[in-house]
Amino acid sequence: MANTGVLIETADNGIKETNFGVITSARQNGKNNIIALVLNDHAADCKELLQKYGVSKVVTISIDGVDDLTNPDLTAKALIETMKHYEINALLGVSSATGRDLLARVAAYLNAPLALDCVSVNLSERTVTKSHFSGKTLATIKMNGDYFICGIRPNVIEAQPAPCETVEEPYIAKVQDTGKMKIIEIKKAESKSIELTEANVIIAGGRPLNSSENFKILQECADMLDAAVGASRSAVDAGFAPHSMQVGQTGKTVSPKLYIACGISGAMQHFAGMKTSKVIVGINTDKDAPIFSKCDYGLLGDLFEVVPAITKILNESR
């Protein structure tokens, strides 16, 4: 059995849900031996969670003489050392902002092939599929060479439990700091909201929302669904929402179970960022809006009336 490494992403509240889909695809129906690489040890209950999904070994990585693992350059070098120690040639992770950065550094240092934002992975054939041309086409890519490094689009692969025996061990990497880069500060976002790319449900608004104030209507509905709030490019360009909320070509690529587009006409560039959502709902006053020709449910109506009505019903049935 080949050793397959999975880079585990943690947040303040422990292991991110999105990891389990990555582990599921790394398992390839039990053909691979899964080694989870955990970067900080504050996720104390991680072994218990990871063993539910078929991880046979959990390696918690620290760096000799380094207290926090926020410097991606040092972390990438520590990951490489760990991969070599455990004879890991295939490394999978979440294609999030942090995951993309670390996986790309690892691949660049190893001079290894890399594919990010993958929607499926086939380890035995050494192929992946991923978006090309802003989501308009799907490319099948062969990874040639000794290594196989890839990042998987969050939420795109459904997690399937596969409980097993798990051992946990620490690994202390010895990494030289070149001093060429350091993290000075991490600025937290002003409002504590659910990360768009990891959300199971997203409710997004377009230009017709007409002000940042009106996004509250979406937030109230989002609170009922544990959803994140997104925005179209035109709403962001008009200053109604920050760029971190933008879904689409020049914003984020998301793949939730449910995407509700409110007052979004459905331009190609918007679809580039959300077309792999499981269910798409469009709410629009224009019956000819392009979104109605490529979504699951279309509501012909005014979002200022429909969204509060949804919120009200959900609130009453709580």
């Binding site: 790309a104 001079n111 880069m181 993290i183 920050p242 190609m268 979504c295």
Partner: protein, 256 residues
């Protein structure tokens, strides 16, 4: 300051892509400079202006048609261009980064290298990392703010949930630009005319004598991405529609 900006010649994001073969598509669509690279270019032009002058050089790996993309970059203020010619649009990122490195090395000594955070055709998100590793330079990508202070580079990079990392790097370094960094300028007519006289050097990729490695990525096939069909339409008053939608999402789609 000597700044190199890597720019790719890509189909316009608004263009429809018609597949014509296993990895081939109808290339008669409009091609433009990769949108993310334009943020890098704008920042490079500003950095040279604000830091006592220098030169901005565009480096492109692409077909002969990429001359038009380099000209458009020269029209907004870059000084000259280098086109490394290849017919393959989907050349492996590792090979492209080696070609960029060789061409830049032969040309001069960079203080900074700007790229976009990704291209909009192959969406690889990695050429700049391979380039930085090849040069042994530090790198930051998804950069939304850039400053030069006391000879060091300080950038802000967008991470999860709207948070930002503030990173300090030594020069030279590689910066992957994204939306939010600046507003790219539009070319003015006199500058478009002036750009026609600026130098674009052409080098065939074979002449760079890049070491060919067995490892890398290879595009096997392109397929149209699956799209949903027409919506099941729900009409009526707001409350009725809301009720019906919630019922469908619960019982038919089973997503809430």
């Amino acid at each position: 300051m000597q700044i190199y900006v890597c720019v790719k010649h890509v189909p316009d994001t608004a263009a429809n892509i018609y597949l014509t073969g296993k990895t081939a598509y109808d290339e008669s669509v409009k091609f433009v400079a990769n949108p993310y690279d334009e943020y890098g270019l704008e920042e490079a032009i500003k950095a040279v202006k604000e830091n006592g002058g220098g030169e901005v050089v565009i480096v492109t790996v692409g077909p002969e048609g990429a001359f038009s993309t380099i000209r458009s970059a020269l029209a907004v203020g870059a000084d000259r261009g280098i086109l490394i010619t290849t017919d393959d649009q989907f050349t492996d990122s590792m090979k492209i980064s080696q070609a960029l490195k060789k061409a830049i090395e032969q040309d001069g000594s960079p203080d900074l290298i700007f790229t976009g955070k990704q291209t909009v055709d192959s969406e690889g998100m990695q050429t700049h990392y391979h380039l930085a590793a090849a040069f042994d330079m530090p790198i930051a990508t998804d950069v939304v703010d850039f400053k030069l202070s006391n000879g060091k580079i300080v950038v802000e990079r967008e991470i999860e949930g709207g948070a930002r990392q503030i990173i300090e790097m030594t020069k030279p370094c590689v910066i992957g630009a994204t939306k939010g960094l600046n507003e790219p300028r539009y070319p003015k007519l006199p500058d478009i005319l002036k750009a026609k006289k600026k130098e674009i050097k052409k080098i065939a990729i074979a002449d760079l004598e890049i070491l060919v490695s067995d490892s890398g990525t290879q595009l096997l096939e392109l397929q149209p991405a699956p799209e949903k069909g027409a919506a099941k339409m729900i009409e009526g008053d707001a409350h009725k529609m809301a009720e019906e939608l919630i019922q469908l999402l619960k019982n038919e789609a089973k997503v809430i």
